[in-house]
């Protein structure tokens, strides 16, 4: 397999969708669309937006899941439903309960209004220590980190600065590319 380094596969920060702290969800979605349009269409699509701050370049990440969770109607009783699992209630019972509760509340209404009100810092994901990798690290190390920590991407650093993002999709593409070249 080719000796890829992380820096060979990462998407540089300049090519990724970014928004500054204080942006709304609506602005983040627009940034994602714009970055996608400008991005090389032969590659996998972006699946997130990075949140930037003047003091510390990348402070958080916003995935599709985070955005959808933020748009979900707030349910006071969701937490108590979540807890039922540890009390031995079956997953089928919990699923039924969640379904009924979801039906009782309004669907995704006022989408635009909500997206314009929600601030990204209120629901962004703040990367933990094990979500960073040095740009000189090998592909093997990156795969190990992604698999062990079950991550979809890693923040790539150089001299303590975040310079890009290594996506699982790009890592998989590199592995697939190497496999395809094997003469089995």
């Amino acid at each position: 397999m080719e000796n890829y380094l992380v820096k060979d596969l990462m998407v540089p920060l300049s090519e990724y969708a970014t928004v500054p702290m204080g942006s709304t969800l609506f602005e983040a979605v627009l940034a994602l669309e714009k970055a996608q349009e400008e991005f090389d269409r032969t590659k996998y699509k972006h699946r997130g937006v990075l949140i930037l701050d003047p003091k510390k370049p990348v402070v958080g990440k916003l995935s599709h899941l985070h955005a959808l969770s933020a748009l979900e109607p707030k349910q006071d009783k969701v937490d108590s439903i979540q807890e039922l699992g540890q009390f031995g209630f079956s997953s089928n019972f919990i699923r039924q309960l969640r379904k009924q509760r979801r039906q009782q509340i309004a669907p995704l209404e006022d989408l635009c209004k909500k997206a314009a009100e929600l601030k990204v810092e209120d629901f962004m994901h703040i990367s933990a220590e094990d979500e960073f990798i040095d740009h000189e690290a090998t592909l093997d190390m990156a795969i190990d980190q992604l698999v062990q920590e079950k991550l979809l991407s890693l923040m790539v650093t150089q001299d303590d600065n975040t310079i890009g993002i290594l996506r699982l999709a790009d890592v998989f593409a590199a592995v697939y590319h190497s496999m395809a070249e094997c003469s089995i």
């Binding site: 009783k77 108590s80 039922l84 540890q86 009390f87 031995g88 209630f89 079956s90 019972f93 039924q96 309960l97």
Partner: protein, 481 residues
Amino acid sequence: MQYLTTNIMKALKELFDRIVRCVNINLRELDYDVHPFVKNLVPFDQLVKFYGFYGITPHHPLDFQFLHSNLAGSYFLGKCRTTNSILYKSDIRGDELKKEGAVIQYQDFEILISRDEEIRIEDSFLIKTLVHNCSHDPETLEKFLISNTLSTHYANIHGSPTDGSFLGPFATVDLTTMNDCVIGAFSYVQAGEINHLQIEPGTIWVRNSDNFNFRYQYPLDKLSHYIHFMAGKPPQGLFMDFVEKHKKAFERVFETVNIDPSVTVPPNASLDRYAVIKPKTLIRDNVLVAQRAFLKNAWLGVGANAQENCYIINSRLEGFNVTAHGAKIIETDLGQNIFVGFNSFLRGRPKNRLSIGKECIIMPHSIIDIKKPLTIPPGHLVWGLVTCPADLETNSISLKELTKIKEGFWRGSMFFEGTGASFVAAFRERIHHILEANGAFYDGTKEKGHAQKNQNISFNLIQPYPEGELKGLFPTIIIRP
């Protein structure tokens, strides 16, 4: 002189520290430190003020062993052993322990009990706690073990072998083997076996893994009016105020050696000499009134009972009523065959009474606290917090309707999964067993229970070292026939 002062009660202080460490080691996975909760909760001076006492009857084995323990104000009946423990005003009631020769059926196993079961308390600190019933763990049928455990005011450990756990005030663990758990204030757990769980205050959880699962969660903002417990402070709230208000009445019965009952007690009923009986109380046949029960203007019909730490005030119980450990019934009228679960608090008002129809089941740890008259129809299951008719609508179901539930239902903060019929059957069976064990069905010849067997108990007092390093510790005492 300085040396002497600092070393007074040295052994007792070391014992306390040791118990706290034992509990904390077991709870390290939950990252729970009990020390801030129990430091100064019972001042050491209190632990030397009170005598311990044990009961002697011809119906229960006489076999006590007290080793390196403080037993201040605690009561023992049946086969009990304490080691490296502090028991403050606790009741260790071993009158339902299994007897040698009994055969226990568990699933497909028939297990012969090879020796009389004993309650064994090791490395534990129990505060005003009731220990009763017998071990329901099929792996330890002859030993009801409570170890490395700390329980606070008015907790109940009922048929539940317990290790490495902490029980908040008014918490109950019932018919459950428990390892390394924290049970929050006023939570009730009956779940067979639990390990490494932290149960929030006000959780009511009844689970039979094959048939049903019931869970209710009290709204904590409302529960805190009744009970709340914070590190560095004693338990607070209406429940504590209520028991404190009646505390004085118990001082007389504990200070007097010989005390005559102030009411007429039928020959087939039992009134414990450590119960408080105030005027206008009536006790009918086969009634059981346990120690630390408080009755005032209470009408107890045939086969009714008032167990430890129960208060029945200005109320009428028509008969065959179970008032489980710690339940309080005030300004209330109960029909026949009503079960009021552990630590429940039922309070009507003098001109706005609470009325409960026959054959109702009031779930353990229910609070029914009304300001306007309220009637609960016969044959209903009631749970949680009820202060008005709307609450009752949410927190109750007729037993007939419940019996029809096949898969589950939910109302408010209550979730039920399983078959309602099995839930109702399990409760009815248990209520019948309790009445039977208490002697409610005694006909003069058959079905004797506690009401008949606990009538003539001799009580002996035991006291700790009065001064010095060992002050507060009771000497090693072994009592056998």
